[in-house]
Amino acid sequence: MEKQLKVSAIKDGTVLDHIPSCQLFKVIDILGLNKSSNQITFGTNLDSKLLGKKGIIKISDKYFESDDINRIALIAPQAKINIIHDFEVVEKRVLTIPKTIRGIVKCMNPMCITNHQVVETLFTTIVESPDFKLLCHYCEKITDKENLKIISNNR
């Protein structure tokens, strides 16, 4: 059978591969791609030896700062980031959870000020992946992997 890319190649930009299919739309949300004017193609439920089913996102002419791209490490730690120039992979990046995380994670403490007034959340990573723990800057309580909720960018 002829080998064929299910999601077409890009000339320049960033490819995010090995995203768990169930997290694909959250990754799009965290990176704010729904508001991007770049050309973006994505696929989901593609076959993957590593994950069973995976998602992939290709963004033309877009390169992320490490702090921005690392935010997806919370929900897709195994994702592979490939930087593309002229159809070639010129750099592979490994994700690490950023030391501070602003605005994308909801504090699990229902009495935290961030859950009652319009206050942007801010966490310090005190234990890194895989079983990460995030310390809330405001209420000083820990939000862990099991209780992670992502705040939507679509507000």
């Binding site: 009495m111 935290c112 000020i113 209420c139 000083e140 309580k141």
Partner: protein, 300 residues
Amino acid sequence: MPKHLISIHDFSRDEILETLSLAREFEKNPRQPILSDKIVASIFFEPSTRTRLSFETAANRLGARVIGFSDIGNTSVTKGETLKDTIKMVSNYSDLIVIRHPLDGSARYASEISSVPVINAGDGANQHPTQTMLDLYSILKTQGKLENLKINMVGDLKYGRTVHSLLQAMSHFNPEFLFTSPDELKMPVEYKEYLTNLNIPFSETKNLSKGLDDSDIIYMTRVQRERFTDPIEYERVKNFYSLNLSMLSGCKPNMKILHPLPRVNEISQDVDASDHAYYFEQAENGVYTRMAIISKLLGK
């Protein structure tokens, strides 16, 4: 940027010791009107007796004038004003803000909005650093030192913010802890991890009579009804511990009983006359330590 006191971590070991020695000076001479040109705003979104009165006494003793409220019923909060807007306005009127608020993290948020120093007088179940400072002052005064003490914390170790802050503050001084609580109210894992990481020894028991004889400080706490969402759980644990005079016969002579007050049934009234009881003096110490904190944050 103004210096605030929101969490006990905001003060280093040296700053804690400096504040305590300043408190000692104020205790020797409590009438020092060094802040007669200052206005202190005392804004209490939640009820309080000791904390509010001792802060206002401290500010008055320093010669400052006090504005504020102790009941949000008379304020624009009832009209839906956000904390941000209240703080913006109050920081324009005053030189320092003392805030108590029912939400965790509210004081940290207030400090980021305010243009003047903010002191946290209790943010929900999170921190109450001035209580910790007066607890440290009481320990220092009664033991003559802060180092190498055995501290037995009793009661509600899960929701009690004073025990959490005291544990963190004492970690500078090589303590040993015993945690006495029912299973439902055990010290949370994150604080035990914190101690483990610092190699500070601790043990846990359900039995109050077990840890009394070799403790230097017994820190009693009330089981706080307002922290429980389940009234049945509250009823089950509320009278779990009651310290009475007959239990203190084998205690070390230097041992003192502290309690952030108000107490309900956890310390029997027959303990009040004992040499070990220190909780009322402890409350008085709140005025001197708060004088020290206010004057330190206002750079006097």
